[in-house]
């Protein structure tokens, strides 16, 4: 019987409550093609999000985001961005981050929210409220449990295990433990066939950071040789540590431009070794260039007159891997008179957009994130205030420049059609200079509320 439909299914003529056989007759299911598509999606997640990703058949992906969330601006931004990206390519998805595979699997399917991030450590408590159907148990077992009166996981978890195991077998206890996170569940990461990868298997498990660093150096050297033979440079490197207890720890680094420099890549990887927990020891180390781009040898331009511009891309990579790519940027001018829209952030290695801002009016060194309302004594329509109160301090205005009128951008939002801001640059008696504006032109109430705001501080 059909229980739920997405938009595509509705278009195909399916209805809720329709028998499954009839639905299948309308549209042939293609399990093989679905599995293939899911694998492709897993590869996409591998390149884009985390070094350990796999298809969670039949309808999901599982991704180990440990240590990679900061590259996307935190876990919230990571799942939101992922769901948005999928939606843009026509896949309706829900995502959840939790402490274990079992818990995340349950939250993504049984909590009706597009994205959910369960804080670390809270998964066990949160998972208790979910229905038993979320435990990844066979359908008939769920039915039988329902007959016995079990509805939520909490009720099941409170019961002694032995009688349950006797009746339902070990599967029930295993799934329960996996959802609670007390039983580890290794993810077998998907590997593309043409992946450039080197590995090293240890006779004795290793654990000391120095040993890991030394091995990393050797692996990077091998990988760079392979990359050179293919004329490629690494954009993203994954270092996977297979631990003796069957878990996989991973490090991921990204670079702004393709790189094949052994020293630089080793340094980037070694910066992250402290985040790896070797547990009882590491058996296998695998280094893979998940994302590689063509990197051809380039002739350096030599000039007798000019000094070459120093290459800062290595610094950009180091900092981006430390604080995250989004938090490293340059500003570029935008042709807009509205101050907060006149700057845009571009990638540090991006080419320059325009020389600088064209306007010659002085601009403040600090622009408040949101303009702060101030109380003023001012003559309308075009005089600066005589005095104003900002953050509880009254200041008398000694001299002022203005108004500089900024019109709303009607092509962006309809409400800005006649909106106006009048900016003044004022100086108080102590010599501090501020940038204030009045919303509205001082005559017509339709242009703004005629309230005053402080927007910036000049040095």
């Amino acid at each position: 019987m059909v229980l739920a439909l997405d938009a595509a299914a509705q278009r195909a003529g399916l209805r809720v409550g329709m028998p499954a056989a009839k639905a299948q007759a309308l549209r042939d299911a293609e399990p093989a093609a679905d599995a293939e598509a899911l694998d492709r999606l897993a590869l996409w997640a591998l390149q884009r999000y985390a070094p350990v990703a796999a298809a969670d058949a039949p309808d999901g992906l599982v991704i180990d985001t440990t240590g990679t969330a900061h590259l996307h601006g935190g876990e919230d931004a990571l799942v939101k961005g992922m769901v948005d990206q999928l939606a843009a390519s026509g896949v309706a998805a829900r995502a959840a981050i939790a402490d274990s595979w079992g818990a995340a699997h349950a939250f993504a399917r049984y909590v009706a929210r597009p994205t959910l991030v369960v804080p670390a450590g809270d998964s066990v408590k949160a998972v208790l409220d979910l229905p038993i159907a979320s435990l990844r148990l066979p359908k008939n077992m769920v039915e039988e449990l329902r007959v016995l009166g079990f509805e939520r996981i909490a009720e099941l978890a409170a019961k002694p295990r032995a009688p349950l195991a006797l009746r339902f077998g070990p599967e029930l206890g295993r799934r329960l433990d996996q959802a609670m996170g007390c039983l580890s569940e290794p993810i077998n990461p998907v590997r593309p066939s043409a992946l450039i990868e080197v590995r090293r298997v240890f006779a004795e498990p290793i654990g000391a950071p120095e040993t890991i660093a030394r091995t990393t150096g050797k692996l990077v050297a091998q990988l760079c040789e392979m990359l050179e033979a293919k004329g490629l440079g690494a954009r993203r490197l994954d270092l996977l540590f297979h631990r003796v207890d069957n878990r996989i720890e991973a490090i991921r680094i990204g670079t702004a431009l393709p790189v094949r420099d052994v020293k630089r890549l080793t340094r980037l990887l070694c910066d992250k070794i402290e985040t790896v927990d070797p547990g009882f020891g590491i058996e296998i180390m695998r280094l893979a260039a998940t994302l590689a781009e063509p990197l051809a040898p380039k002739q350096t331009i030599s000039s007798l007159t000019e000094e070459p511009e120093a290459d800062v891309s290595s610094l950009i990579d180091t900092l981006a891997n430390r604080v995250g790519e989004q938090r490293l940027y340059r500003f570029a001018p935008v042709a807009s008179d509205v101050p907060e829209r006149s700057v845009q952030r571009i990638a540090p290695a991006a080419p320059n957009i325009g020389e600088a801002w064209q306007d010659h009016w002085p601009r403040p060194a600090r622009l408040l994130p949101t303009p702060e309302p101030i109380e003023t004594v001012a003559l309308l329509p075009d005089h600066p205030p005589v005095s104003f109160i900002w953050r509880g301090v009254r200041r008398r205005v000694k001299c002022a420049d203005g108004p500089e009128r900024v019109f709303g951008e009607w092509w962006k939002r309809d409400v800005e059609l006649i909106a106006v801001r009048d900016y003044f640059r004022i100086e108080d008696e102590a010599g501090e200079r501020f940038w204030i504006y009045r919303a509205g032109d001082g005559e017509d109430a339709a242009t703004g509320t005629h309230r005053w705001f402080l927007h910036g501080i000049f040095g």
Partner: protein, 251 residues
């Protein structure tokens, strides 16, 4: 300074101290302000490259750091090469820096948050940058020594803009650090104009500490479009000089 500069024994002692500091092997490069009154107070005739400097705002400037940022932007604009700017609060406005001569194509910003000192040091060690700037609230002796050593190794000019959350925390600026110079920039009433309006901004520039030099106060006009400061024209041969002369005459 003027009295001791000529004595050969003092010169010799200075040389010996420099050799002890380990900087004697290469001549110290400096970035002059281009204003004689300020440059003669600084050893070498300018801000030392490959060294750590501290800049703070006075009064409310300790919290907003607007004048301090602009003063720093002026220095960075006159330095060569790219600039790394580590920020803790995203409220700086790049057009103002462009107006002080620091074009947006030259500056890479990093929102460092907690890791601001690590990013600052990383930038100083890299060697390909002209100047590295960071907004720092607390700066311990150990941290500042690390930064100073990093700056010495690469030759980049390191500037820590001291910026605090509360006015009471600004007393931290009295704690000793390993920086070479320490400045305080506070806003003064702008140069008066014959017409209504706000003239060119003026700053009270205090050189609070200077290694191998003496502290001094200046009243300057804020950065122009090339990042250069200027002395107010009324002051160069004006009241300040006259008063010194009068005091001498009275003695």
């Amino acid at each position: 300074m003027r009295t001791s500069a000529g004595l050969p024994i003092v010169e010799e002692l200075r040389e010996r101290i420099q050799r002890l500091e380990g900087a004697a092997t290469r001549r110290r490069l400096v970035l002059p302000f281009g204003i004689k009154e300020i440059d003669r107070h600084l050893p070498g005739g300018g801000l030392a490259l490959g060294a750590l400097h501290e800049v703070a705002g006075g009064g409310n400037g300790a919290i907003d750091g607007a004048a301090a940022a602009l003063f720093t932007a002026g220095i960075a604009a006159r330095a060569r090469g790219k600039v790394l700017w580590c920020i803790t609060r995203p409220d700086l406005f790049a057009p103002a820096f462009a107006q002080a001569g620091l074009l947006p194509g030259r500056v890479i910003y990093v929102e460092a948050g907690e890791a601001v000192l690590a990013c600052f040091e990383e930038g100083l060690r890299h060697g390909g940058l002209g100047a590295v700037v960071a907004e720092v609230a607390r700066l311990s002796m150990t941290a500042s020594r690390r930064l100073q050593l990093a700056a010495e190794s690469s030759g980049a000019i390191g500037i820590a803009i001291r910026r605090w959350r509360r006015q009471t925390e600004a007393t931290d600026f009295g704690q000793p650090t390993a920086s070479v110079t320490r400045w305080r920039v506070s806003a003064l009433p702008a140069t008066p104009l014959p017409i209504p309006g706000v003239g060119r901004a003026r700053w009270q520039l205090e050189l609070i500490r200077c290694r191998a030099g003496e502290s001094a106060d200046f009243e300057v006009e804020a950065c122009d479009a090339k990042g250069r400061l200027a002395l107010p024209s009324g002051l160069v041969h004006g009241p300040g000089q006259k008063e010194i002369g009068r005091r001498r005459a009275a003695r």
